[in-house]
């Protein structure tokens, strides 16, 4: 307990502050009530320490989750629902068929409905998935998927609840011979628990056998153009050529993105963490939860690329007995184990777990999605950052109807999800700017994106995409990732450059030809005039001269 004098001193300073600032009023009154026995600082602080409700947390951190403004909120809501639907379909090995609609209810209210033909959701899980934040199957595993944290769809529900007071309405059917469940769910924001307003069996309104239909009413703003929902869906169609997406926008336009490939992407494989990529805190949790009885066993069982010998080597380097019990390791022992793991020589993590879109389909997607003349794409072989396997794909569309005198358009994707915001913070943008486009005959101001009639597409695939924030808008700039992106871009750049030189050469040929056509006759006229030639002679000279000039390769 601090001496009394000090407390009074503090009070005095607070009171000085009072004159100027109203904010401090509450604090001073609070301390005023405890006149008999002044509270200790810790006690006073304790009086303010309470459980933060999930809704408060959400309201304060909505920018982290992508709900910072009404326009973005609309996009994020659609995006979370679409991500979930696509993930579900792929995991169930079903060719996705999505229908998205945004209905304008006036006064900045929109009803967002997303229907998929996925496997549906088991009745008991529906309430948890939509009514509880941070509930999901994806956070605890390392597997290439769109969603990662289990925050998305419930955050959208929370946003809907906070802005319109309406529950999320879910209809889902998991089997053809079963009824569909219809649930209206709210989130009990104090307990972070679902609150089911209604739970009924209904007729399945869709034509396919199983699937899920999510409906949310939210406050938002709809705009076209850059970073709009429309663009997000267009780009989603490019990155998911195996999906059929129909989209009814608030203006009432029905946009239909046809399936470009009837082949489902190979299923991505879940992998165990690689010792090089694990964080200390995560390691502590893993050791606590492991099913193995000794440290060596835990290393072998819970991590990839750890053999018997490697595990012993790590234990040896960390000065820990391989037979020790993982749950009983002291914090400093875990730390030295962590260091030993990072230093160990290991095989790279398995990379067959990654499923790219593929060169052919990237190109096909660009061909469908842009009005250009030239298309190319490249898919790199997998690589590793911090023990996490990743790979990069890139594509370029050039010319045609693309605007010629603007900066290029950049399509960024992570695990097939288009990234719309925070372009300047993204590893992809950095790599595009770092690439010397002038080498490929594309103009580029120093430290800027290249300009010209060009769309650049970059797709980063990983079991764990390192986003800069929870709203998943920009990829962190790990040097390994930036480098791989640059290499992919360089492949595309070289092909573009070939195309451009071929086109330039053709244009020059044409110019040469027209130049000859234009001025040659005047040489004929002059010679005929000076030398009094016959028409026949003039013609003969011109034929001969034209032949000589066209055979000469050099322009000058």
């Amino acid at each position: 307990m601090p001496p009394r004098k000090k407390t009074t001193k503090k009070q005095a300073t607070k009171q000085v502050g009072r004159k100027g600032r109203e904010k401090t009023v509450e604090m001073i009154e609070a301390s005023g009530t405890a006149q008999k026995r002044p509270l200790s600082a810790a006690e006073r602080m304790a009086s303010k320490q309470r459980e933060i409700s999930i809704s408060e947390f959400f309201t304060k951190n909505r920018h982290l989750l992508g709900f910072d403004n009404p326009q973005k909120a609309l996009l994020t809501t659609v995006k979370e629902a679409v991500d979930n639907s696509l993930d579900a379909c792929e995991e169930a090995r079903i060719l996705p068929d999505l229908s998205i609609s945004i209905q304008d209810k006036g006064e900045n209210r929109f009803v967002v409905t997303v229907v998929d033909n996925g496997p549906g959701i088991v009745h008991a899980q529906i309430r948890k998935i939509f009514g509880k934040l941070l509930y999901g199957s994806k956070f605890h595993r390392l597997k290439q998927s769109r969603g990662q944290q289990g925050i998305g769809i419930s955050a959208a529900g929370m946003y809907s609840q906070l802005t319109t007071g309406k529950p999320v309405v879910i209809i889902s059917r998991t089997r053809k011979d079963r009824p569909a469940h219809r649930l209206e769910i709210k989130i009990d924001t104090r307990r972070n628990a679902p609150e089911v307003l209604s739970d009924t069996n209904v007729d399945w309104p869709e034509t396919f056998d199983t699937g899920t239909r999510v409906e949310m009413e939210i406050e938002g703003v709809y705009r076209g153009g850059k970073r709009s929902v429309d663009q997000y869906i267009e780009q989603t169609a490019i990155a998911n050529p195996h999906a059929h997406i129909s989209y009814l926008n608030p203006k009432g336009d029905l946009l239909d993105y046809k399936r470009l490939s009837d082949e489902l992407p190979r299923e991505s494989i879940e992998i165990k963490p690689h010792p090089h990529g694990v964080e200390l805190g995560a390691l502590m949790n893993m050791l606590k939860e492991t099913a193995s009885r000794d440290v060596k066993g835990a290393l072998i069982r819970d991590f990839s690329r750890v053999s018997d010998k490697v595990a012993e080597g790590i234990c040896d380097a960390a000065g820990i007995s391989p037979k020790g019990r993982p749950k009983q390791l002291r914090p400093e022992q875990v730390e030295s184990l962590h260091r030993a793991m990072a230093a160990a020589k290991l095989m790279s993590p398995p990379t067959n777990c990654l499923v790219p879109i593929g060169e052919e389909l990237v190109q096909l997607g660009l061909e469908k999605g842009t009005q250009a003349d030239f298309f190319t794409s490249a898919t790199r072989t997998p690589s590793v950052y911090r023990g996490n396997p990743f790979l990069v794909e890139a594509g370029i569309a050039w010319g045609g109807g693309l605007p010629a005198d603007e900066l290029c358009t950049l399509y960024r994707f992570a695990n097939r999800v288009p990234l719309q915001y925070q372009q300047s913070d993204c590893a992809i943008t950095k790599a595009v700017m770092d690439t010397d486009w002038r080498k490929y005959k594309v103009s580029q101001a120093r430290g800027a994106l290249p300009s010209g009639p060009m769309v650049i597409l970059v797709h980063v695939v990983s079991v764990w995409v390192p986003f800069t924030s929870e709203s998943k808008e920009a990829i962190a700039r790990y040097p390994e990732i930036v480098k791989e992106i640059r290499l992919a871009l360089q492949i595309c750049g070289r092909r573009l450059s070939h195309y451009l030189s071929a086109r330039k050469k053709a244009a020059e040929e044409g110019r040469k030809h027209s130049y000859i056509e234009t001025y040659l006759p005047h040489i004929g006229i002059a010679l005929k005039d000076i030398l009094s030639l016959s028409e026949q002679q003039e013609k003969q000279i011109l034929i001969k001269l034209k032949d000589t000039l066209e055979r000469s390769r050099k322009f000058v």
């Binding site: 234009t518 040659l520 005047h522 040489i523 000076i530 001269l545 000469s552 322009f555």
Partner: protein
């Protein structure tokens, strides 16, 4: 010397065209060789007294890139052949307008057609007047003890023009002076830079007093003016004295061009210069001797003077001129002809010219 040989222009043009035609028929790219028109491509020949081409040439080969200029050059040659055939002339501007009939081969601006005309002229090493092309520029004014013998355009009869009878006006040198005759007893020709000084000397009938012919050059003398003085001085064996401002332009450009010709027209300098010309003034020494009011040399003046010392074959040949230029640079000033007015308006007539003419042997080369 220096009687211009009549050249058969038609024949020259035909030869060139024939050469082009034969190369084409042989499956080769035709080319034309033009002498390089620049001061760097001339040498000063003191024996004959003018700049002569050193013979460096630029070759214009017909390629896709040059086909337009090549066609224009040939068409200009064809036009020149027509002019010569019917004994007509065209000003350079008229030639430019004629090209407007050439469709895509036409010239867009007159400087383009002027360049082609200059090239053709240099190609054949002739004067553009021989090709039928004349400039718009004025030839220069003449007053004093001279009778010019011209022809009446209609009757062909001799026409005697007495240059003493123009009062306060003057005889104007025509574009072509080749067929003019001269009658004179004058003792010298005085070539003057500015029209203002010329007017003063004419107004006070200075030519009567000094028994001379006054010529106003109006800056750098035109070809016609140079040719006129040349023929007159050659035929009548009269000395030529040049009276210009004392600055690098007056000496290095006006006087030098009159005396030995220019780099740009080196192919015709033989006929368009006056090797017997001598520099009366104003000299750098005059500035000191007559205590003339001066202006500081501008940056371009200094550059011009240094350039002359470094690159002008004429200046490099004459020690006296190198000294004069160096002196001018070190003095850092220039003086105009009319600065003599400081000592009285007619000081130039009463004192300066008589004093200078009393010692013609001291004139700069």
């Amino acid at each position: 010397m220096a009687k211009k040989k009549p050249t058969d222009m038609k024949k020259l043009i035909k030869q060139q065209a024939q050469d082009v035609k034969e190369k084409i028929l042989a499956g080769k790219k035709p080319d034309m060789k033009f002498p390089l028109r620049a001061l760097s491509n001339v040498r000063y020949r003191p024996g004959v007294g003018y700049f002569e081409l050193k013979g460096r040439k630029k070759e214009r080969t017909l390629t896709v890139g040059t086909v337009k200029t090549f066609a224009q050059t040939l068409r200009m040659m064809a036009f020149s052949k027509d002019l010569v055939e019917i004994d007509d002339i065209a000003t350079k501007r008229e030639a430019y307008y004629v090209s407007k009939n050439w469709g895509p081969a036409r010239f867009n601006e007159q400087p383009e057609s002027d360049t082609v005309i200059d090239d053709v002229e240099a190609l054949f090493q002739v004067n553009r007047e021989q090709l039928g092309f004349i400039p718009e520029e004025k030839g220069g004014d003449v007053a004093g003890k001279l009778v010019v013998v011209d022809k009446d355009r209609d009757t062909g009869k001799k026409l005697k023009i007495d240059c003493t009878k123009f009062g306060s006006g003057a005889y104007s040198i025509p574009i072509s002076v080749e067929d003019l005759g001269f009658e004179t007893q004058a003792e010298f020709i005085l070539a003057i830079e500015t029209a203002g000084m010329f007017q003063r000397l004419v107004k006070h009938n200075y030519w009567k007093k000094a028994n001379c012919i006054l010529v106003s050059m109006g800056g750098v003398p035109t070809r016609a003016c140079r040719r006129f003085i040349r023929r007159l001085s050659d035929e009548k064996k009269i000395p030529v004295y040049v009276f210009v401002d004392c600055d690098p332009y007056g000496i290095g450009n006006i006087y030098r061009t009159l005396k030995v010709g220019s780099g740009n027209a080196a192919h015709i300098n033989e006929f368009f210069c006056v090797p017997r010309a001598k520099f009366l003034g104003i000299t750098p020494d005059d500035i000191e001797h007559y205590k003339l009011p001066t202006h500081p040399l501008k940056e371009v003046d200094v550059k011009r003077a240094k350039d002359a010392l470094k690159n002008d074959p004429f200046v490099q040949h004459h020690k006296q001129w190198q000294k004069a230029f160096s002196k001018l640079i070190s003095m850092g000033v220039r003086a105009e002809q009319q600065a003599l007015a400081k000592w009285g308006l007619n000081y130039v007539i009463d004192t300066y010219l008589p004093e200078k003419l009393a010692q013609t042997e001291k004139f700069l080369p």
